[in-house]
Protein backbone atom coordinates (compact mmCIF):
# COMPACT_ATOMS: atom_id res chain seq x y z
CA UNK A 1 0.00 0.00 0.00
CA UNK A 2 1.40 3.30 -1.08
CA UNK A 3 0.41 5.18 2.04
CA UNK A 4 2.75 2.94 3.97
CA UNK A 5 6.14 4.13 4.87
CA UNK A 6 8.48 1.52 6.09
CA UNK A 7 10.59 2.61 8.96
CA UNK A 8 13.55 0.56 9.98
CA UNK A 9 15.31 0.95 13.19
CA UNK A 10 18.32 3.17 12.94
CA UNK A 11 17.54 4.72 9.57
CA UNK A 12 15.34 7.58 10.68
CA UNK A 13 16.42 7.41 14.28
CA UNK A 14 17.65 10.73 15.49
CA UNK A 15 20.07 10.77 18.35
CA UNK A 16 18.25 10.42 21.59
CA UNK A 17 18.60 13.98 22.74
CA UNK A 18 18.15 14.95 26.34
CA UNK A 19 19.45 18.00 28.12
CA UNK A 20 20.35 15.88 31.11
CA UNK A 21 22.73 13.80 29.05
CA UNK A 22 26.20 15.35 29.05
CA UNK A 23 27.80 14.54 25.72
CA UNK A 24 25.20 11.80 25.20
CA UNK A 25 27.11 9.32 27.34
CA UNK A 26 25.46 9.88 30.67
CA UNK A 27 21.91 10.26 31.92
CA UNK A 28 21.25 12.39 34.98
CA UNK A 29 18.04 11.33 36.75
CA UNK A 30 15.96 14.42 37.62
CA UNK A 31 14.42 12.52 40.53
CA UNK A 32 17.36 10.99 42.43
CA UNK A 33 20.11 12.94 40.64
CA UNK A 34 22.11 9.77 39.95
CA UNK A 35 24.40 9.79 36.95
CA UNK A 36 23.89 6.67 34.86
CA UNK A 37 25.58 5.58 31.61
CA UNK A 38 23.13 6.35 28.76
CA UNK A 39 23.40 2.85 27.35
CA UNK A 40 22.47 1.32 30.69
CA UNK A 41 19.60 3.78 30.97
CA UNK A 42 18.15 3.04 27.52
CA UNK A 43 18.63 -0.71 28.03
CA UNK A 44 16.41 -0.28 31.07
CA UNK A 45 13.63 1.23 28.91
CA UNK A 46 14.68 4.76 29.97
CA UNK A 47 13.71 4.01 33.56
CA UNK A 48 16.21 5.11 36.21
CA UNK A 49 18.05 2.01 37.41
CA UNK A 50 18.54 3.61 40.82
CA UNK A 51 15.08 4.97 41.72
CA UNK A 52 12.66 3.72 39.05
CA UNK A 53 11.86 7.19 37.70
CA UNK A 54 10.24 6.90 34.24
CA UNK A 55 11.85 9.40 31.91
CA UNK A 56 9.47 11.04 29.45
CA UNK A 57 10.14 9.35 26.13
CA UNK A 58 8.73 9.72 22.63
CA UNK A 59 6.92 7.53 20.13
CA UNK A 60 10.19 6.22 18.68
CA UNK A 61 11.25 4.81 22.05
CA UNK A 62 7.84 3.30 22.79
CA UNK A 63 7.77 1.59 19.40
CA UNK A 64 11.24 0.23 20.07
CA UNK A 65 10.03 -1.19 23.39
CA UNK A 66 6.81 -2.72 22.06
CA UNK A 67 7.46 -4.11 18.61
CA UNK A 68 9.31 -7.30 17.75
CA UNK A 69 12.78 -6.60 16.33
CA UNK A 70 11.94 -2.88 16.44
CA UNK A 71 10.12 -3.38 13.14
CA UNK A 72 6.90 -1.59 12.34
CA UNK A 73 5.18 0.31 9.57
CA UNK A 74 4.00 3.86 9.98
CA UNK A 75 0.59 4.66 8.53
CA UNK A 76 -0.71 8.08 7.46
CA UNK A 77 2.63 9.66 8.26
CA UNK A 78 2.01 12.67 6.06
CA UNK A 79 -0.93 14.31 7.79
CA UNK A 80 -0.19 17.83 8.99
CA UNK A 81 -2.22 20.59 10.55
CA UNK A 82 -3.93 23.06 8.21
CA UNK A 83 -4.50 25.92 10.68
CA UNK A 84 -8.19 26.25 9.77
CA UNK A 85 -8.79 29.26 12.02
CA UNK A 86 -5.59 31.11 11.02
CA UNK A 87 -5.01 31.38 14.73
CA UNK A 88 -2.70 34.06 16.08
CA UNK A 89 -1.79 34.65 19.69
CA UNK A 90 1.65 35.93 20.61
CA UNK A 91 2.81 34.00 17.57
CA UNK A 92 1.13 32.64 14.45
CA UNK A 93 -0.01 29.05 14.91
CA UNK A 94 1.36 28.28 11.47
CA UNK A 95 4.82 29.45 12.57
CA UNK A 96 4.54 27.52 15.82
CA UNK A 97 3.86 24.38 13.78
CA UNK A 98 6.82 24.88 11.47
CA UNK A 99 9.11 25.54 14.43
CA UNK A 100 7.91 22.43 16.23
CA UNK A 101 8.33 20.36 13.10
CA UNK A 102 11.89 21.59 12.62
CA UNK A 103 12.80 21.19 16.28
CA UNK A 104 11.39 17.67 16.66
CA UNK A 105 11.58 16.21 13.16
CA UNK A 106 7.96 15.18 13.69
CA UNK A 107 4.88 16.15 11.66
CA UNK A 108 2.52 16.43 14.63
CA UNK A 109 2.04 15.20 18.18
CA UNK A 110 1.05 11.63 17.30
CA UNK A 111 2.32 8.77 15.14
CA UNK A 112 0.38 5.68 14.20
CA UNK A 113 2.11 2.42 13.35
CA UNK A 114 1.44 -1.25 12.99
CA UNK A 115 3.58 -4.28 13.74
CA UNK A 116 3.74 -7.34 15.96
CA UNK A 117 4.22 -7.68 19.70
CA UNK A 118 5.39 -11.16 20.68
CA UNK A 119 4.17 -12.34 17.30
CA UNK A 120 0.68 -10.89 17.75
CA UNK A 121 -0.46 -8.07 15.46
CA UNK A 122 -0.95 -4.68 17.07
CA UNK A 123 -1.74 -1.18 15.84
CA UNK A 124 -0.43 1.63 18.04
CA UNK A 125 -1.00 5.38 18.18
CA UNK A 126 1.61 7.10 20.32
CA UNK A 127 1.93 10.75 21.26
CA UNK A 128 5.02 12.90 21.35
CA UNK A 129 4.94 15.41 24.17
CA UNK A 130 7.77 17.39 22.58
CA UNK A 131 5.39 18.50 19.84
CA UNK A 132 3.34 21.36 21.36
CA UNK A 133 2.82 19.42 24.59
CA UNK A 134 1.29 16.43 22.85
CA UNK A 135 -1.77 18.58 22.25
CA UNK A 136 -4.77 17.21 20.39
CA UNK A 137 -5.79 18.90 17.15
CA UNK A 138 -7.39 17.70 13.92
CA UNK A 139 -4.34 15.67 12.92
CA UNK A 140 -4.39 13.64 16.12
CA UNK A 141 -8.11 12.97 15.75
CA UNK A 142 -7.81 11.94 12.12
CA UNK A 143 -4.76 9.73 12.70
CA UNK A 144 -6.51 7.93 15.53
CA UNK A 145 -9.65 7.55 13.40
CA UNK A 146 -7.67 6.08 10.50
CA UNK A 147 -5.67 3.81 12.79
CA UNK A 148 -8.98 2.45 14.10
CA UNK A 149 -10.14 1.89 10.51
CA UNK A 150 -6.87 0.06 9.88
CA UNK A 151 -7.35 -2.07 12.99
CA UNK A 152 -10.86 -3.01 11.91
CA UNK A 153 -9.83 -3.76 8.34
CA UNK A 154 -6.87 -5.91 9.39
CA UNK A 155 -8.48 -7.24 12.59
CA UNK A 156 -5.68 -6.09 14.88
CA UNK A 157 -6.00 -4.96 18.49
CA UNK A 158 -5.49 -1.24 19.00
CA UNK A 159 -3.51 0.70 21.55
CA UNK A 160 -3.15 4.40 22.27
CA UNK A 161 -0.24 5.68 24.32
CA UNK A 162 -1.32 9.04 25.73
CA UNK A 163 1.09 11.77 26.78
CA UNK A 164 -0.69 15.06 26.38
CA UNK A 165 -1.70 18.27 28.07
CA UNK A 166 -5.07 18.02 26.31
CA UNK A 167 -6.66 20.19 23.66
CA UNK A 168 -4.69 22.25 21.15
CA UNK A 169 -6.15 25.67 21.84
CA UNK A 170 -5.07 27.04 18.46
CA UNK A 171 -7.59 24.74 16.81
CA UNK A 172 -10.32 25.77 19.27
CA UNK A 173 -13.62 24.00 18.54
CA UNK A 174 -11.97 21.70 15.98
CA UNK A 175 -9.80 20.46 18.82
CA UNK A 176 -12.84 20.00 21.07
CA UNK A 177 -14.63 17.98 18.41
CA UNK A 178 -11.71 15.53 18.19
CA UNK A 179 -12.92 14.26 21.57
CA UNK A 180 -16.28 13.47 19.99
CA UNK A 181 -14.69 12.08 16.83
CA UNK A 182 -12.30 9.67 18.54
CA UNK A 183 -14.95 8.48 21.02
CA UNK A 184 -17.43 7.89 18.21
CA UNK A 185 -14.78 6.02 16.26
CA UNK A 186 -14.07 3.75 19.23
CA UNK A 187 -17.68 2.52 19.13
CA UNK A 188 -16.87 1.01 15.71
CA UNK A 189 -13.77 -0.74 17.04
CA UNK A 190 -15.87 -2.08 19.88
CA UNK A 191 -18.58 -3.28 17.50
CA UNK A 192 -15.84 -5.23 15.67
CA UNK A 193 -14.95 -6.88 19.01
CA UNK A 194 -11.33 -5.79 18.80
CA UNK A 195 -9.43 -5.00 22.00
CA UNK A 196 -8.55 -1.40 22.76
CA UNK A 197 -5.80 -0.82 25.29
CA UNK A 198 -5.25 2.69 26.60
CA UNK A 199 -1.84 3.34 28.15
CA UNK A 200 -1.70 6.58 30.11
CA UNK A 201 1.74 8.06 30.66
CA UNK A 202 3.06 11.24 32.23
CA UNK A 203 1.17 13.53 31.73
CA UNK A 204 -2.35 12.71 30.52
CA UNK A 205 -4.81 15.52 31.19
CA UNK A 206 -7.72 17.54 29.78
CA UNK A 207 -9.58 16.53 26.66
CA UNK A 208 -7.45 13.41 26.14
CA UNK A 209 -8.44 12.09 29.58
CA UNK A 210 -12.05 13.09 28.90
CA UNK A 211 -12.20 11.03 25.72
CA UNK A 212 -10.25 8.05 24.36
CA UNK A 213 -7.69 7.73 27.18
CA UNK A 214 -10.40 6.69 29.66
CA UNK A 215 -12.30 4.48 27.22
CA UNK A 216 -10.00 1.47 27.00
CA UNK A 217 -11.20 -2.08 27.40
CA UNK A 218 -8.17 -1.89 29.61
CA UNK A 219 -6.90 1.39 31.01
CA UNK A 220 -3.31 0.97 32.15
CA UNK A 221 -0.68 3.46 33.24
CA UNK A 222 2.98 3.88 33.94
CA UNK A 223 3.82 4.48 37.62
CA UNK A 224 3.90 8.03 38.95
CA UNK A 225 2.26 9.61 35.91
CA UNK A 226 0.09 12.72 36.27
CA UNK A 227 -3.41 11.70 35.18
CA UNK A 228 -6.45 13.96 35.50
CA UNK A 229 -9.13 16.02 33.82
CA UNK A 230 -8.41 19.43 35.31
CA UNK A 231 -4.75 20.33 35.79
CA UNK A 232 -3.48 20.29 39.39
CA UNK A 233 -2.99 24.07 39.43
CA UNK A 234 -6.63 24.64 38.47
CA UNK A 235 -7.87 22.18 41.10
CA UNK A 236 -5.71 23.87 43.71
CA UNK A 237 -7.16 27.27 42.81
CA UNK A 238 -10.68 25.83 42.95
CA UNK A 239 -10.41 24.31 46.41
CA UNK A 240 -8.19 27.08 47.79
CA UNK A 241 -5.78 24.79 49.60
CA UNK A 242 -2.85 22.49 48.94
CA UNK A 243 -3.52 19.24 47.17
CA UNK A 244 -3.14 15.99 49.11
CA UNK A 245 0.07 14.07 48.51
CA UNK A 246 -0.10 11.78 45.52
CA UNK A 247 -3.21 13.50 44.10
CA UNK A 248 -3.79 12.70 40.40
CA UNK A 249 -0.95 10.18 40.21
CA UNK A 250 -1.40 6.81 38.49
CA UNK A 251 -1.56 5.20 41.93
CA UNK A 252 -4.35 7.61 42.98
CA UNK A 253 -6.33 6.94 39.80
CA UNK A 254 -5.88 3.16 40.22
CA UNK A 255 -7.06 3.45 43.81
CA UNK A 256 -10.21 5.28 42.72
CA UNK A 257 -11.08 2.57 40.25
CA UNK A 258 -10.28 4.07 36.86
CA UNK A 259 -7.27 1.93 35.92
CA UNK A 260 -6.95 -1.82 35.47
CA UNK A 261 -3.33 -1.88 36.55
CA UNK A 262 -0.05 -0.02 36.63
CA UNK A 263 2.86 -1.39 34.64
CA UNK A 264 6.52 -0.48 34.91
CA UNK A 265 7.97 0.21 31.51
CA UNK A 266 10.52 -2.62 31.63
CA UNK A 267 7.58 -5.04 31.83
CA UNK A 268 5.33 -3.26 29.35
CA UNK A 269 5.96 -5.58 26.43
CA UNK A 270 5.53 -8.76 28.48
CA UNK A 271 2.30 -7.46 30.03
CA UNK A 272 1.00 -6.38 26.62
CA UNK A 273 1.75 -9.78 25.15
CA UNK A 274 -0.10 -11.41 28.04
CA UNK A 275 -3.10 -9.11 27.59
CA UNK A 276 -3.19 -9.65 23.83
CA UNK A 277 -3.06 -13.41 24.33
CA UNK A 278 -5.86 -13.32 26.90
CA UNK A 279 -8.10 -11.14 24.77
CA UNK A 280 -7.48 -12.96 21.52
CA UNK A 281 -10.71 -14.06 19.95
Amino acid sequence: MSWFKRIKSGITTETHEKKETPEGLWYRCPSCKSIIPSKEHSDNSWVCVKCGYHERIGSQEYFEIIFDDNTYEEINANLTSADPLEFVDTKKYHERLVESQQKTGLKDAIRTVTGTCNGLPLTVACMDFRFIGGSMGSVMGEKIARAIDYSIKHKTPFMIISKSGGARMMEAAFSLMQMAKTSAKLTQLSAAKLPYISLLTDPTTGGVTASFAMLGDLNIAEPGALIGFAGPRVVKETIGKDLPKGFQTSEFVLDHGFLDFIVVRQELKAKLAQVLAFMKN
Binding site: P84, L85, V88, V139, G206, G228
Partner: protein, 320 residues
Protein backbone atom coordinates in the same frame (compact mmCIF):
# COMPACT_ATOMS: atom_id res chain seq x y z
CA UNK B 1 -37.05 45.45 28.83
CA UNK B 2 -33.99 44.34 30.73
CA UNK B 3 -33.05 46.20 33.90
CA UNK B 4 -29.39 45.28 33.57
CA UNK B 5 -27.48 46.90 30.74
CA UNK B 6 -24.18 45.54 29.50
CA UNK B 7 -21.22 47.87 28.95
CA UNK B 8 -21.75 48.00 25.19
CA UNK B 9 -25.38 48.98 25.79
CA UNK B 10 -24.32 52.25 27.48
CA UNK B 11 -25.77 54.44 24.69
CA UNK B 12 -29.16 53.12 25.78
CA UNK B 13 -28.77 54.15 29.40
CA UNK B 14 -29.30 57.89 28.93
CA UNK B 15 -32.23 57.33 26.61
CA UNK B 16 -33.83 55.06 29.18
CA UNK B 17 -33.45 57.72 31.87
CA UNK B 18 -35.01 60.39 29.63
CA UNK B 19 -37.88 58.05 28.86
CA UNK B 20 -38.49 57.37 32.53
CA UNK B 21 -38.59 61.08 33.32
CA UNK B 22 -40.99 61.77 30.48
CA UNK B 23 -43.25 59.00 31.70
CA UNK B 24 -43.25 60.47 35.22
CA UNK B 25 -44.30 63.85 33.83
CA UNK B 26 -47.00 62.15 31.78
CA UNK B 27 -48.35 60.40 34.87
CA UNK B 28 -48.69 63.69 36.75
CA UNK B 29 -50.93 64.68 33.86
CA UNK B 30 -50.10 68.36 33.65
CA UNK B 31 -48.13 68.46 30.41
CA UNK B 32 -48.72 66.31 27.35
CA UNK B 33 -45.40 64.65 26.43
CA UNK B 34 -46.81 61.89 24.26
CA UNK B 35 -44.78 62.86 21.22
CA UNK B 36 -41.58 63.04 23.27
CA UNK B 37 -42.22 59.56 24.64
CA UNK B 38 -42.89 58.17 21.18
CA UNK B 39 -39.74 59.77 19.80
CA UNK B 40 -37.65 58.41 22.65
CA UNK B 41 -39.09 54.96 22.25
CA UNK B 42 -38.32 54.80 18.56
CA UNK B 43 -34.86 56.21 19.21
CA UNK B 44 -34.23 53.44 21.77
CA UNK B 45 -35.48 50.86 19.31
CA UNK B 46 -33.19 52.17 16.58
CA UNK B 47 -30.14 52.44 18.85
CA UNK B 48 -30.72 48.94 20.09
CA UNK B 49 -31.08 47.57 16.57
CA UNK B 50 -27.83 49.26 15.57
CA UNK B 51 -25.99 47.89 18.59
CA UNK B 52 -27.32 44.40 18.03
CA UNK B 53 -26.74 44.29 14.29
CA UNK B 54 -23.01 44.50 14.80
CA UNK B 55 -22.10 42.46 17.86
CA UNK B 56 -18.51 41.40 18.45
CA UNK B 57 -17.64 37.90 19.59
CA UNK B 58 -16.90 39.15 23.09
CA UNK B 59 -20.24 41.00 23.26
CA UNK B 60 -22.02 37.77 22.40
CA UNK B 61 -20.08 36.03 25.16
CA UNK B 62 -21.34 38.73 27.53
CA UNK B 63 -24.91 38.21 26.32
CA UNK B 64 -24.62 34.43 26.78
CA UNK B 65 -23.93 35.13 30.47
CA UNK B 66 -26.54 37.83 31.00
CA UNK B 67 -28.03 37.28 34.48
CA UNK B 68 -31.58 37.70 33.16
CA UNK B 69 -31.12 35.15 30.40
CA UNK B 70 -33.47 32.16 30.73
CA UNK B 71 -31.93 28.96 32.06
CA UNK B 72 -32.62 25.31 31.31
CA UNK B 73 -35.61 24.83 33.63
CA UNK B 74 -37.19 28.05 32.34
CA UNK B 75 -37.10 26.64 28.81
CA UNK B 76 -38.39 23.25 29.88
CA UNK B 77 -41.28 24.66 31.91
CA UNK B 78 -42.30 26.95 29.07
CA UNK B 79 -41.93 24.37 26.31
CA UNK B 80 -43.79 21.62 28.20
CA UNK B 81 -46.34 24.08 29.60
CA UNK B 82 -45.52 22.63 33.01
CA UNK B 83 -45.96 19.00 31.99
CA UNK B 84 -42.49 18.01 33.15
CA UNK B 85 -41.41 15.38 35.65
CA UNK B 86 -37.96 16.02 37.06
CA UNK B 87 -35.91 12.92 37.84
CA UNK B 88 -32.99 12.92 40.23
CA UNK B 89 -29.79 11.06 40.94
CA UNK B 90 -27.11 9.03 39.21
CA UNK B 91 -27.87 5.86 41.28
CA UNK B 92 -24.23 5.80 42.38
CA UNK B 93 -23.11 8.75 44.44
CA UNK B 94 -25.65 11.57 44.67
CA UNK B 95 -27.88 13.98 42.82
CA UNK B 96 -25.99 16.69 40.96
CA UNK B 97 -27.88 19.99 41.18
CA UNK B 98 -25.89 21.42 38.27
CA UNK B 99 -27.35 18.84 35.88
CA UNK B 100 -31.12 18.43 35.72
CA UNK B 101 -33.36 16.20 33.67
CA UNK B 102 -36.63 14.38 33.31
CA UNK B 103 -39.55 13.45 31.10
CA UNK B 104 -41.58 16.22 29.55
CA UNK B 105 -44.29 16.63 26.99
CA UNK B 106 -43.88 18.75 23.91
CA UNK B 107 -46.93 19.07 21.68
CA UNK B 108 -48.29 15.85 23.17
CA UNK B 109 -45.09 13.87 22.55
CA UNK B 110 -42.87 12.62 25.38
CA UNK B 111 -39.21 13.61 25.30
CA UNK B 112 -36.34 13.36 27.77
CA UNK B 113 -34.83 16.71 28.73
CA UNK B 114 -31.32 16.96 30.16
CA UNK B 115 -29.30 20.11 30.77
CA UNK B 116 -26.96 22.06 32.98
CA UNK B 117 -28.77 24.39 35.36
CA UNK B 118 -27.59 27.78 36.60
CA UNK B 119 -29.13 29.80 39.41
CA UNK B 120 -30.54 33.33 39.21
CA UNK B 121 -29.55 34.61 42.65
CA UNK B 122 -26.50 34.16 44.87
CA UNK B 123 -27.99 31.30 46.85
CA UNK B 124 -29.35 29.51 43.81
CA UNK B 125 -26.07 29.97 41.95
CA UNK B 126 -24.21 28.21 44.75
CA UNK B 127 -26.89 25.52 45.00
CA UNK B 128 -26.46 24.88 41.26
CA UNK B 129 -22.65 25.08 41.52
CA UNK B 130 -22.76 27.79 38.81
CA UNK B 131 -23.86 25.21 36.27
CA UNK B 132 -20.63 23.22 36.62
CA UNK B 133 -21.46 19.50 36.90
CA UNK B 134 -19.46 16.92 38.81
CA UNK B 135 -18.99 13.39 37.40
CA UNK B 136 -22.30 12.35 38.96
CA UNK B 137 -24.00 14.98 36.80
CA UNK B 138 -22.69 13.36 33.63
CA UNK B 139 -23.60 9.90 34.97
CA UNK B 140 -27.10 11.12 35.85
CA UNK B 141 -27.39 12.45 32.30
CA UNK B 142 -26.31 9.10 30.90
CA UNK B 143 -28.80 7.25 33.09
CA UNK B 144 -31.58 9.43 31.72
CA UNK B 145 -30.34 8.98 28.12
CA UNK B 146 -30.50 5.22 28.57
CA UNK B 147 -33.95 5.48 30.12
CA UNK B 148 -35.14 7.47 27.13
CA UNK B 149 -33.59 4.96 24.75
CA UNK B 150 -35.32 2.07 26.53
CA UNK B 151 -38.75 3.63 26.05
CA UNK B 152 -37.95 5.02 22.62
CA UNK B 153 -38.26 8.70 23.55
CA UNK B 154 -36.25 11.42 21.83
CA UNK B 155 -33.66 13.33 23.85
CA UNK B 156 -33.31 17.12 24.07
CA UNK B 157 -30.22 18.48 25.82
CA UNK B 158 -29.93 22.13 26.80
CA UNK B 159 -26.32 23.20 27.24
CA UNK B 160 -25.30 26.08 29.48
CA UNK B 161 -22.09 25.64 31.43
CA UNK B 162 -18.84 27.49 32.15
CA UNK B 163 -17.24 24.03 32.29
CA UNK B 164 -17.16 20.73 34.14
CA UNK B 165 -16.30 21.37 37.79
CA UNK B 166 -12.51 21.21 38.37
CA UNK B 167 -12.72 20.12 42.01
CA UNK B 168 -10.89 17.58 44.12
CA UNK B 169 -13.81 15.17 44.46
CA UNK B 170 -14.59 15.54 40.77
CA UNK B 171 -11.11 14.20 40.05
CA UNK B 172 -11.48 11.42 42.62
CA UNK B 173 -14.71 10.29 41.04
CA UNK B 174 -13.36 10.42 37.50
CA UNK B 175 -14.56 13.59 35.77
CA UNK B 176 -12.61 12.59 32.66
CA UNK B 177 -14.08 9.10 32.54
CA UNK B 178 -17.62 10.40 33.10
CA UNK B 179 -17.42 12.81 30.17
CA UNK B 180 -15.63 10.29 27.95
CA UNK B 181 -18.30 7.66 28.63
CA UNK B 182 -21.03 10.08 27.60
CA UNK B 183 -19.29 10.95 24.33
CA UNK B 184 -19.03 7.26 23.55
CA UNK B 185 -22.56 6.31 24.57
CA UNK B 186 -24.28 9.34 23.07
CA UNK B 187 -22.79 8.62 19.65
CA UNK B 188 -24.71 5.35 19.47
CA UNK B 189 -28.01 6.18 21.20
CA UNK B 190 -30.79 4.68 19.12
CA UNK B 191 -33.24 7.55 19.69
CA UNK B 192 -33.11 11.04 18.15
CA UNK B 193 -30.88 13.48 20.03
CA UNK B 194 -31.10 17.25 19.69
CA UNK B 195 -28.56 19.41 21.54
CA UNK B 196 -29.12 23.15 21.95
CA UNK B 197 -26.57 25.56 23.38
CA UNK B 198 -28.69 28.11 25.23
CA UNK B 199 -25.88 30.01 26.98
CA UNK B 200 -22.29 28.98 27.55
CA UNK B 201 -20.83 25.97 25.79
CA UNK B 202 -17.52 25.54 27.55
CA UNK B 203 -15.34 22.68 26.43
CA UNK B 204 -15.71 19.06 27.57
CA UNK B 205 -18.24 20.11 30.19
CA UNK B 206 -20.60 21.14 27.39
CA UNK B 207 -19.65 18.38 24.94
CA UNK B 208 -20.40 15.79 27.64
CA UNK B 209 -24.10 16.20 26.80
CA UNK B 210 -23.50 17.54 23.29
CA UNK B 211 -23.39 14.60 20.87
CA UNK B 212 -26.56 14.87 18.83
CA UNK B 213 -28.16 14.35 15.42
CA UNK B 214 -28.75 18.09 15.44
CA UNK B 215 -26.54 20.46 17.41
CA UNK B 216 -27.99 23.97 17.44
CA UNK B 217 -26.81 27.22 19.00
CA UNK B 218 -28.89 30.17 20.07
CA UNK B 219 -27.64 33.24 18.24
CA UNK B 220 -25.87 34.89 21.19
CA UNK B 221 -24.09 31.93 22.71
CA UNK B 222 -20.57 30.59 22.51
CA UNK B 223 -19.11 27.12 22.11
CA UNK B 224 -15.41 26.31 22.22
CA UNK B 225 -12.61 24.37 23.82
CA UNK B 226 -11.91 27.09 26.39
CA UNK B 227 -13.40 30.38 27.63
CA UNK B 228 -11.90 33.55 26.13
CA UNK B 229 -10.65 34.59 29.59
CA UNK B 230 -8.80 31.33 30.23
CA UNK B 231 -7.49 31.33 26.67
CA UNK B 232 -6.15 34.84 27.20
CA UNK B 233 -4.50 33.90 30.48
CA UNK B 234 -2.80 30.85 28.98
CA UNK B 235 -1.71 32.23 25.61
CA UNK B 236 -1.05 35.86 26.57
CA UNK B 237 -0.43 35.23 30.26
CA UNK B 238 -2.95 37.89 31.29
CA UNK B 239 -6.73 38.45 31.23
CA UNK B 240 -6.61 41.60 29.11
CA UNK B 241 -6.77 39.82 25.78
CA UNK B 242 -10.16 38.21 26.29
CA UNK B 243 -11.68 40.15 23.39
CA UNK B 244 -8.87 39.11 21.04
CA UNK B 245 -9.16 35.56 22.33
CA UNK B 246 -12.92 35.58 21.69
CA UNK B 247 -12.26 36.62 18.09
CA UNK B 248 -9.43 34.14 17.58
CA UNK B 249 -11.37 31.19 18.97
CA UNK B 250 -14.21 31.69 16.44
CA UNK B 251 -16.66 30.67 19.11
CA UNK B 252 -19.89 32.41 18.06
CA UNK B 253 -22.90 30.67 16.54
CA UNK B 254 -22.11 32.27 13.18
CA UNK B 255 -18.49 31.09 13.23
CA UNK B 256 -19.43 27.61 14.37
CA UNK B 257 -22.04 27.34 11.64
CA UNK B 258 -19.60 28.50 8.97
CA UNK B 259 -17.04 25.97 10.20
CA UNK B 260 -19.77 23.32 9.92
CA UNK B 261 -19.28 22.26 13.53
CA UNK B 262 -22.95 22.86 14.34
CA UNK B 263 -26.13 22.20 12.38
CA UNK B 264 -28.00 25.44 12.85
CA UNK B 265 -28.62 28.74 14.62
CA UNK B 266 -31.77 29.78 16.49
CA UNK B 267 -32.30 33.54 16.17
CA UNK B 268 -32.77 35.60 19.30
CA UNK B 269 -34.98 38.67 19.73
CA UNK B 270 -33.22 42.01 19.14
CA UNK B 271 -31.76 42.80 22.56
CA UNK B 272 -30.91 39.15 23.27
CA UNK B 273 -32.82 36.16 24.64
CA UNK B 274 -33.20 37.87 28.02
CA UNK B 275 -35.09 40.81 26.54
CA UNK B 276 -38.07 38.68 25.52
CA UNK B 277 -38.46 35.32 27.23
CA UNK B 278 -41.77 34.24 25.62
CA UNK B 279 -40.36 34.90 22.16
CA UNK B 280 -37.20 32.81 22.65
CA UNK B 281 -39.18 29.98 24.30
CA UNK B 282 -41.46 29.91 21.26
CA UNK B 283 -38.51 29.89 18.84
CA UNK B 284 -36.77 27.05 20.64
CA UNK B 285 -39.99 25.03 20.83
CA UNK B 286 -40.64 25.55 17.13
CA UNK B 287 -37.10 24.38 16.24
CA UNK B 288 -37.39 21.27 18.41
CA UNK B 289 -40.71 20.30 16.84
CA UNK B 290 -39.36 20.94 13.34
CA UNK B 291 -36.26 18.76 13.79
CA UNK B 292 -38.06 16.01 15.70
CA UNK B 293 -40.56 15.66 12.88
CA UNK B 294 -37.71 14.75 10.52
CA UNK B 295 -35.53 12.77 12.93
CA UNK B 296 -38.28 10.53 14.32
CA UNK B 297 -39.14 9.38 10.79
CA UNK B 298 -35.62 8.14 10.10
CA UNK B 299 -34.52 4.54 10.44
CA UNK B 300 -32.72 4.34 13.82
CA UNK B 301 -29.64 2.62 12.37
CA UNK B 302 -29.38 5.20 9.61
CA UNK B 303 -29.74 7.97 12.17
CA UNK B 304 -26.90 6.59 14.32
CA UNK B 305 -24.77 6.07 11.21
CA UNK B 306 -25.26 9.68 10.11
CA UNK B 307 -24.51 10.96 13.62
CA UNK B 308 -21.27 8.97 13.74
CA UNK B 309 -20.25 10.09 10.27
CA UNK B 310 -20.95 13.73 11.09
CA UNK B 311 -18.63 13.77 14.10
CA UNK B 312 -16.02 11.57 12.40
CA UNK B 313 -15.77 14.06 9.54
CA UNK B 314 -14.90 16.98 11.83
CA UNK B 315 -11.36 18.27 11.53
CA UNK B 316 -9.19 20.10 9.01
CA UNK B 317 -5.76 18.80 8.03
CA UNK B 318 -3.42 18.54 5.10
CA UNK B 319 -2.22 15.38 3.44
CA UNK B 320 0.99 15.65 1.46
Amino acid sequence: MSSILLDFEKPLEELHEQLMKAKQIQEKGKVNVNTVIKELESKIEKTRKDLYSNLSAWQRVQLSRHPERPYTLDYINAITEGNFLELFGDRQVKDDKAMIGGFGSINGETVMFVGQQKGNNTKARQFRNFGMPNPEGYRKALRLFKLAEKFNKPIITLIDTPGAFPGLEAEERGQGEAIARNLYEMSILKVPVICIIIGEGASGGALGIGIGDKVLMLENTWYSVISPESCSSILWRNWDNKERAADALKLTSLDMSELKLIDGIISEPVGGAHSNHPEIFESVKREIIKHLAVLTKMDPEMRVQQRLEKFCSMGVYKEE
